[in-house]
């Protein structure tokens, strides 16, 4: 039976409405909201599985291989938060599902108008998600910073759109671009880079990831980042002649290096992983640049897809560990290896993966991305990416050292929270991804070959 092409988005929309209707009831059944959130996310994922590659295309929305692939990433990234979302707060559930819907729309957006709508549809709930994720004014301060930065980015995008429209008389793809159009395309790209966390547009990111609850940071760093990557890729497709594409590798390299350097000096864990996320975003930008520069080959797409898939496991895993172990700073990490061996071992595997140490999936991800860069003869950005991996390894190893080699100072008591299973699951996932070359060839994944 021909599936209704936008079934996944429909499932999510139903989820949003369901959440709000549950809100109407005076005493909603306790686990209903959480079940609803999980159901709609998993439902969307299952529906996306069945879609054929070129199921639907219209001037505004299309469903191609990339959009389906990225939808998997988005839903994979959203799963942990769906489970952990505050069961009683129906508005929060609706906002969360709305954000996920926005992201999947962005994944399927065909023209600029749709992109703008999806962009805002995704961002506005995110601001509120950050604001309500944790008690205290730190979350509020982060949300406000996020709001204003996002607002300015949205405005820049619209200005870019207007300029682009003035030049190309349309909102869809166009070949030649006059300087006016080039400026427009660049401004739109700036909005995408903002969402990704490219330097120097990423000052908001560490504050948001640090202040919000770990699971929300996990969601933002995986689902939001994947959507932003595809958003940037769509822009490159729309304006293949745009001059900003040539600058992407340089911006990526700069972001990767500054991210790693800043993370080195962080004491608070969530802020450290925020900068680590920036560093990985830098690598992704290099990847998109390499993909766009060398004729948008499928190998480029598969490398980016693989990287984001691996990063989903790694990031969600690390933030889940932070939630589980209750450690706020690196000092509190000292000696925790003995206290919770299983979770700490899984966390160690994830750290090795983030550092790009074989035989984990993290290594495969970095390898494939750097490979694309080298193949597109972008030697210096590749070297910068490699250097950022090296610097990042310094703090990952530092954390492993704190975890296992240091003596625990007995003063800090430790009561394990939920989420150990998730950390271990993510670690298992990342190790499985490590065997990707064998895995891929035996599964003969269509996208990859």
């Amino acid at each position: 039976m021909t599936m209704f092409p936008l079934a996944p988005q429909a499932a999510l929309a139903a989820g949003v409405l369901g959440a709000l209707s549950l809100g109407l009831m005076r005493r909603p059944p306790p686990l209903a909201l959480r079940a609803l959130a999980l159901a709609s996310i998993v439902g969307a994922m299952l529906l996306a599985v069945g879609l054929p590659a070129d199921a639907y295309s219209s001037p505004i929305l299309l469903t191609d291989a990339k959009s389906i692939g990225w939808q998997y990433l988005i839903y994979l990234g959203a799963l942990p938060l769906a489970y952990w979302l505050d069961g009683e707060d129906d508005v929060l559930t609706a906002l969360f599902l709305g954000a996920v819907l926005g992201m999947s729309l962005l994944a399927s957006a065909a023209n600029l108008a749709m992109m703008f709508i999806a962009l805002e549809f995704m961002s506005l709930p995110a601001y509120l998600l950050v604001a309500r994720s944790r008690r205290g004014d730190r979350a509020l301060e982060a949300a406000i910073k996020y709001f204003f930065a996002g607002g300015v980015a949205g405005a820049l995008f619209m200005l870019g759109l207007a300029l682009y429209y003035a030049d190309t008389h349309g909102l869809a793809a166009s070949a030649a671009l006059s300087p006016l159009g080039q400026a427009g395309a660049t401004l739109m790209a700036a909005a995408a880079l903002f969402k990704l966390g490219a330097f120097p547009l990423n000052w908001w990111l560490p504050d948001v990831y640090e202040a919000s609850a770990p699971e929300v940071s996990g969601f933002l760093s995986t689902a939001m980042k994947s959507a932003a990557v595809l958003f940037l890729m769509r822009l490159c497709e729309l304006a293949p002649e745009a001059a900003f594409i040539a600058w992407l590798p340089a911006i990526g390299a700069l972001t990767a290096l500054t991210g790693a350097v800043m993370a080195l000096r962080q004491e608070r864990l969530q802020r450290l992983f925020a900068y680590s996320s920036i560093s990985n975003a830098g690598l992704l930008i290099i990847g998109v640049g390499a993909w766009a520069v060398s004729g948008r080959s499928t190998e480029g797409v598969s490398a980016l897809l693989f990287f984001l898939g691996a990063y989903a496991f790694m990031s969600n895993g690390t933030f889940a560990f932070i939630k589980y172990s209750g450690c706020e700073t690196r000092a509190q990490l000292k000696g925790r290896g003995a206290a919770m061996p299983a979770a700490a071992a899984a966390f160690t595997i994830l750290l090795f993966a983030l550092g790009g140490i074989p035989p984990t999936g993290g290594f495969m991800a970095k390898l494939l991305l750097l490979w694309r860069a080298v193949d597109a003869s972008l030697l210096w950005p590749a070297a910068a990416g490699a250097l950022s991996a090296l610097i990042s390894l310094a703090y990952y190893l530092g954390m492993i050292r704190d975890l296992w080699f240091e003596k625990a100072d007995q003063s800090v008591s430790f009561k394990p929270g939920a989420g150990a299973v998730l950390v271990i699951a993510c670690a298992a996932g990342i190790v499985l991804l490590g065997a990707a070359p064998w895995l891929m060839s035996s599964l003969a994944g269509g996208l990859v070959r």
Partner: protein, 100 residues
């Protein structure tokens, strides 16, 4: 000067004015207004060019922009009100706890 030049002048002026407000002012409320001003500036250009290319799609976009600006205002105001209710004035200078 041709109409298009005038339009671009107004759009650019309004946009940069709004941007200046957002970047320079410390009052959160004022910054919110600046944000709205920037979006409004873009509408001017869009409407003009939609007319020139008589393309209804752009007008639909203008409508959407106005809707989004409204939604943005709602979210912005809710955050700012939450801050004022917490007893801390709506002043950007206070928001420096997260840094480094």
């Amino acid at each position: 000067m041709s109409l298009t030049a005038v339009v671009w002048a107004t759009t650019g002026g309004l946009f940069s004015f709004g941007l200046a407000i957002v970047v320079l002012r410390r009052q959160l409320l004022a910054m919110l207004l600046g944000l709205e001003l920037m979006l409004a500036a873009v509408n001017v250009s869009l409407v003009h060019h939609a007319g020139m290319f008589d393309d209804a799609e752009a007008l639909a976009v203008v409508a959407l922009v106005i809707a989004v600006a409204a939604a943005e205002a709602v979210v912005g105001l809710s955050l700012i009100l939450r801050m004022r209710r917490g007893g801390r004035g709506a002043d950007a200078a206070l928001l420096t706890e997260l840094q480094g």
